[in-house]
Structure formats: C-alpha cells, structure tokens
C-alpha cells in the first residue's frame, strides 16, 4: 500500500485519482502537500494539458461544430489557447478560495493547501480527458467529457469529506455549494463570451 514515510510526487498523488480514487483521497487527506507543491508540482502541469491538446487539434483538424471544419490562423489559436490556460488557472484558484471561504460554514479544514489539493484532485480526470481536444469535434468532446465530468463529481462528493476532514453529510452540502459556484461561473463565462462575440471580439458574427 502507500508508504506514509516518503511523500509521493504530486502528479502521482493526483494521477491515482483515475485508477485508485479512494487511495488517492485517503493519501491526500493524510499527507496533504503544501500549496506550492500542489500548484507547481501538479496543477500547473495538469492545467497545461487542455490548452496544449486544443492548440494541436485546432491547427491540425480545425474546429468542427457539425459543419465544415473551421481553420483559424495560428496566432489566433495560440491566443485562444493561452486564454484557455489562464481561465483554467483562474478557475482552479478561485474555486479553491471559495472552498476555503465555505469551509468555515461547513466545519471543514480551512487550510488553503487542502482546498487547492481537493480542486486539483477533482480536475484531474478532466485534464486527462481533455486529450479528446486533439480532435476538436464539439459533439465528440461533449460525449467524452460528460462522463469524465461525472467521475470528477464522484471525486468531489466522496473526496471532500476526506480531504477537508469533515462529516460526509456536511461534505455533501459543501460539495453542492461548490458545484453551484462552478455552475454560476460557467454561466457567467457563457454570457461574457456572448457579449464579447457581439462586440466583435471572437468569431466574426453579424449582429
């Protein structure tokens, strides 16, 4: 089983989420890495995957929305990928901050490193699943990432009480509140996107 003596490399700690989730949760609960280790050892690299895969896929295959593929200039794709990366980091950090803020209400451990570790754990399947961005067909991505998202939700609901050391019932409430935060952020992003496109920043649409 896991040795409690030597700390494992962060990426392995989180990577275990895929094949040995309960072990991963227990490990993070007992040996929470520091925020720096989580961020620079795992989160940053996991967060790099989706934009990199998206960049490669978009330049090779183009965006596929069910009509003929849309090819964009390299510089545009690079800009979009960079923005994607930035947004993922903002999402990761803000969710961890919100989790820390909520932890007080739900009697959970308020250490930021644990919150960051939890969010990274939850995001790990999505980061790995983002390999589907190599073929940027909208529908295919949806079909792959929705079950992946279910895996993340499972990690959230089961993992939160363990990693943040709270009662499972309180953990369920806190997990639901975090999902509310993520959904709201997602909708905000959707609407900001719509507004930006209308202003001409983004795909050329004629309103």
């Amino acid at each position: 089983m896991l040795s409690s003596a030597t700390p494992r490399a962060p990426l392995r700690q989180f990577g275990a989420a895929l094949l040995a989730p309960y072990a991963a949760m227990a490990d993070l609960g007992e040996h929470p890495p520091s925020s720096a280790r989580v961020f620079f050892g795992a989160a940053l690299w996991l967060g790099l995957c989706p934009p990199l895969f998206a960049f490669v896929g978009t330049t090779v295959f183009g965006w596929r929305l069910g009509v003929d593929p849309i090819f964009l200039p390299r510089s545009t794709v690079a800009a979009i990928s960079a923005a994607y990366f930035a947004l993922l980091l903002v999402g990761l950090l803000s969710t961890a901050v919100v989790a820390r803020w909520m932890a007080v209400t739900y009697g959970a451990d308020t250490s930021f490193s644990r919150c960051l570790a939890l969010v990274t754990l939850v995001g790990t399947p999505l980061a790995v699943g983002s390999v589907v961005h190599l073929y940027p067909d909208a529908y295919l991505n949806l079909v792959v990432l929705v079950p992946t998202l279910s895996w993340s939700m499972f990690l959230l609901y089961r993992g939160l009480p363990i990693v943040l050391k709270t009662d499972p019932a309180r953990g369920m409430l806190m997990a639901s509140s975090l999902i509310a935060y993520v959904l709201i952020s997602w909708v905000t992003l959707l609407c900001v996107t719509a507004v930006l496109w209308g202003l001409g920043i983004g795909p050329r649409i004629a309103t």
Partner: protein, 487 residues
C-alpha cells in the same frame, strides 16, 4: 365556546385530498415526461410522427408542456398548499367539499384538456393553448381553490400568517390575474376563439403572462413549498425571517416586469424591452436571497442528510434554483439574448429550472410527505437514492447538451462569409444539431426512469393503508383568545 365551534376547532386535518393530489401529480408527471421524451425522440427520428395528426411533434410538445405544468406542477402545488395551510393555521381545511370539487374539476380539466390539445384545439399562445371553454372552467376551479385556501387562513388559530402561505397566496392571486387577462378572447366556435389583443400588443400581454407563469407558478408556488417543507424536513427554522419578508415583496414586485426579455429585438417598443432587462437583473436579488435562506437553513441540518434521501433533492433543487435564477437575468441582457433567442440555449435554461428546481423540490417534498400521509416509513431508501442520481445526471446532461447546441446554433446562424453572405444554410445548422438532440433524449429518458422509480417506491409505501388522520394541536385558551379574532 359552542359545541359546533369546538368541533370545528378540533376536527382532524383533511389530508385525503393531499394524497389524492399527490397521486395525480405523479401520474401527470409520468405522462407529461413521457410526452416530452416522445417529442425529443421525434426530433431525432421524425419517422416517429407516423403521419398521424395526434402524434405530430407540434401537438405532442403542447401536450407535454400542459401536462407537466398544469398536471404535475399545479396538482403538486394545490396538494402541498392544502397540507401546509392547515398545519400553519392549526385548523381543518375550509369547506372540504369545495376543495374536493376543485380536485375533481382540475383532474377532469387536465384529462379533457390534453385530449383537446392532441385533437388540435389550440389558442396559439404558449402555456395558454387550452381553448376558451377550458379557460373558463379553470378560472372557476381556481376561484374555488382561492376560497378554500384563503378561507382556511381566515379561520386560523395562529395570528401571523406563515410565510409559505404568502407565497402560495401570491401563486393563486397573480396567476388568476394573468390567466384571465391573457386568455381574453372572442369565441367563434366551441373550439376556436380569437385573441382580444392583436399582433405586437398580444406579444406583450402574452409574455407578461408567460414569464410570470414561470414567476408565480413555477417560482412563487414552489417557494411556498420550500418555505414549509424545508424547515419541516430539516427540523430547523428558516434561517432569516427578515430576509424572507424583504425577498417576498421584492419578488412579487419585480417579477412582473421581466416579461419583455422574451421579446428582445422584436417589433415591440424599445422602452418596454429595456425595462424588461433592468427588472430581470433586479430580480436576481430576491431570488438569490431566497436561495441563501434555504441553503443556510439546510446547512444547519446536515446530520439529517445521512438518513433522509429527500433532503438531497432539496439541496440540489436549491443549487439549480440558484443557477436558473442567475442564468435567466444573464440571458435577459440584450447582447446575450442576441445569441440565445430562438436557440436550444433557451430550452436548456427552461429545463434547468423545470427539472433541476421544480421537479427536484417536488420529489424531495413527496418523499417527505407520502410516508407521513401513509403513517409508515418510505418503502426503499435505496430506490430514492437511485432516483436522485438519475435525476441529477439527467438534468446535467440536458443542460450541457443544450448549452453546446444553442451556442453552436447561434454562432453558425450569425456567421457571414467573406463576401458578406450568410455562411451556413439553415439545413446545415439543423444537421449539426442532430447529435445534441440524441443526448437530450437520453437525458430525458434518465429523468423519466427516475420518476417512475419514485412512483413505484411511493406506491409501495402507501400499499394497503389509508391516509393517516391527524388532528390539529389544541392550544391553551389564553393563546387562542389572543390570536383568534383577527381575520
């Protein structure tokens, strides 16, 4: 105190009618959701229309919306309002014979109404498709409902009217006003009438009605359900009484104005559209105040989550309530609406509210209510948990597939090519939607299966028993004298 008065004050609650409305609500839920699933399937495989008028998508969709809103939704609201108004007033329902008339009239109206819709009787306005004979019958039944509900409150033994009754009350009063005005029409034949309002005026009246059917039926009424059943289930008082007062009046005031956000960039006056934007954003505040009230109440009752499957439904219902009441105002902003109007995004938004909020809170309430009506524990906690995961997965899959579909749709519709012509034909875009329609069908099937599991579970809970008789608590005379006398 006379013998008659004493008898009236100690008579048991009329709960058999609650059982009746709950049972019918579940039947309509299954029928209405089946119609929805069939409609979704027809969009994937149009052969399922079979060239039959009563099976065609247009009529099936209309039957779907009416069955879920007025069959499932309203039956649940009337039933739960009768349960809670008695218990918050400590008195038996006013005129039970009238209440039972409402029950039979309502169910008959739904049966005949759905039949009429499939036969092609259609007023032509969304969620007001039932033609004038039904409109009149519904109005009469609704007035009777009002008499029973407010009559019970007038007879109450507790001076302050509890907050759930304000919300149910707002449902009754405002929906009556909206229904009557929007359905004003001159009949030509038994099954055909013409709207009193023409064209652009009709549009404004329709969406004053349509949005507030959402506001007062789907929101106000179900908030009444929340404000009674959540504290009961959580065994905690509402977190903030003051917040609930402010939120209530702000809610009643603001919702009414939001209708024109259904009409952005149409031929109605700009000032009406702009008011719709502003007030839709204002509406965020009372909606979220209520959500926060609910969440904070539940978070005090977390221990019950371990044993009570119903509470999980309430928690997620609040999450989706927050989502839907946030997304709505966002979509009301003109520049967002440009992208969302006429697309699948609107459908996704509707169902995030209808499935995530309305259905889930009703399910949670039924899991709490039916064991109490039966005087027995829930037949299977495991089935209830399975239902929960099916409902949650179905809702999320629905929303995600429709977000993706809607955004693609509007992007492709609005794209011009380098020569300034429309880039994609309508058919191109429609073809691109096909896989999303399949995902949405799957989502609907999952949700329906969950609902069927609930029906089986609650039926087994009630097998072979009758509704338990409960008497209101008898208060001390001094308290009674101090409280009775205000009407």
């Amino acid at each position: 105190m006379t013998i008659q008065t004493k008898a009236r004050l100690t008579a048991p609650y009329e709960d058999r009618i609650v059982t009746a409305f709950t049972a019918c609500s579940i039947v309509w839920a299954i029928l209405g959701m089946t119609a929805g699933v069939y409609a979704a399937a027809e969009l994937v495989w149009p052969q399922l229309n079979f060239g039959l008028p009563w099976l065609s998508f247009g009529r099936i969709r209309t039957a779907h919306t009416n069955l879920v809103l007025f069959g499932f939704g309203v039956s649940a609201l009337i039933g739960t309002s009768f349960y809670s108004v008695q218990r918050t007033s400590h008195v038996r329902l006013f005129a039970p014979w009238l209440a039972w008339s409402v029950f039979y009239a309502w169910q008959l109206a739904i049966v005949l109404g759905a039949w009429s819709l499939l036969a092609g009787w259609n007023g032509g306005k969304e969620y007001a498709e039932l033609e004038w004979p039904f409109d009149i019958a519904i109005t009469v039944a609704w007035l009777a409902y009002a008499v029973v509900f407010f009559g019970t409150i007038a007879r109450r033994k507790i001076a302050p009217i509890y907050i759930s009754n304000w919300f149910y009350g707002s449902l009754i009063i405002v929906v009556a006003m909206l229904h009557v005005v929007n359905n004003l029409a001159l009949p030509a034949t038994l099954g055909k009438s013409y709207s009193l309002f023409p064209g652009a005026q009709d549009a404004i009246v329709q969406w004053w009605y349509g949005h507030n059917a959402v506001g007062f039926l789907l929101t106000g009424g179900f908030l009444g359900m929340l404000y009674y059943f959540l504290p009961k289930q959580a065994e905690q008082p509402i977190w903030s009484y003051r917040l609930s007062i402010v939120a209530f009046w702000a809610f009643v005031y603001s919702y009414i104005w939001a209708g024109p956000h259904h009409l952005h960039y149409t031929a109605i006056p700009e000032w009406v559209q702009s008011l719709g934007v502003v007030m839709s954003l204002v509406l965020l505040a009372p909606s979220w105040a209520t959500m926060i009230n609910g969440v904070m109440t539940v978070s005090n009752a977390w221990q019950k989550l371990r044993t009570d499957p119903a509470l999980k439904f309430i928690v997620l219902a609040l999450v989706f309530y927050g989502l839907a009441t946030f997304e709505g105002p966002m979509m009301a902003i003109r520049s967002v609406n440009v992208m969302s109007h006429f697309t699948e995004w609107t459908i996704g938004h509707v169902h995030s509210g209808a499935l995530g909020w309305n259905a889930m809170i009703t399910f949670g309430t039924f899991y709490f209510l039916v064991p109490r009506l039966a005087g027995r524990p829930l037949h299977s906690v495991q089935l209830a948990n399975m239902h929960f995961w099916l409902a949650l997965t179905g809702t999320l899959l629905y929303i995600l597939s429709m977000w993706a579909a809607g955004l693609s749709q509007s992007l492709l519709w609005l794209s011009l090519d380098d020569l300034g012509a429309v880039r994609y034909s309508f058919v191109d875009v429609m073809r691109a939607m096909a896989p999303y329609y399949l995902l949405r069908l799957l989502a609907g099937i999952l949700f329906l299966i969950g609902t069927v599991l609930m029906a089986v579970n609650l039926l087994r809970t009630f097998a072979g028993v009758r509704t338990v008789e409960v008497a209101p608590p008898i208060l001390a005379t001094t308290h009674r004298e101090a409280t009775v006398g205000t009407s």
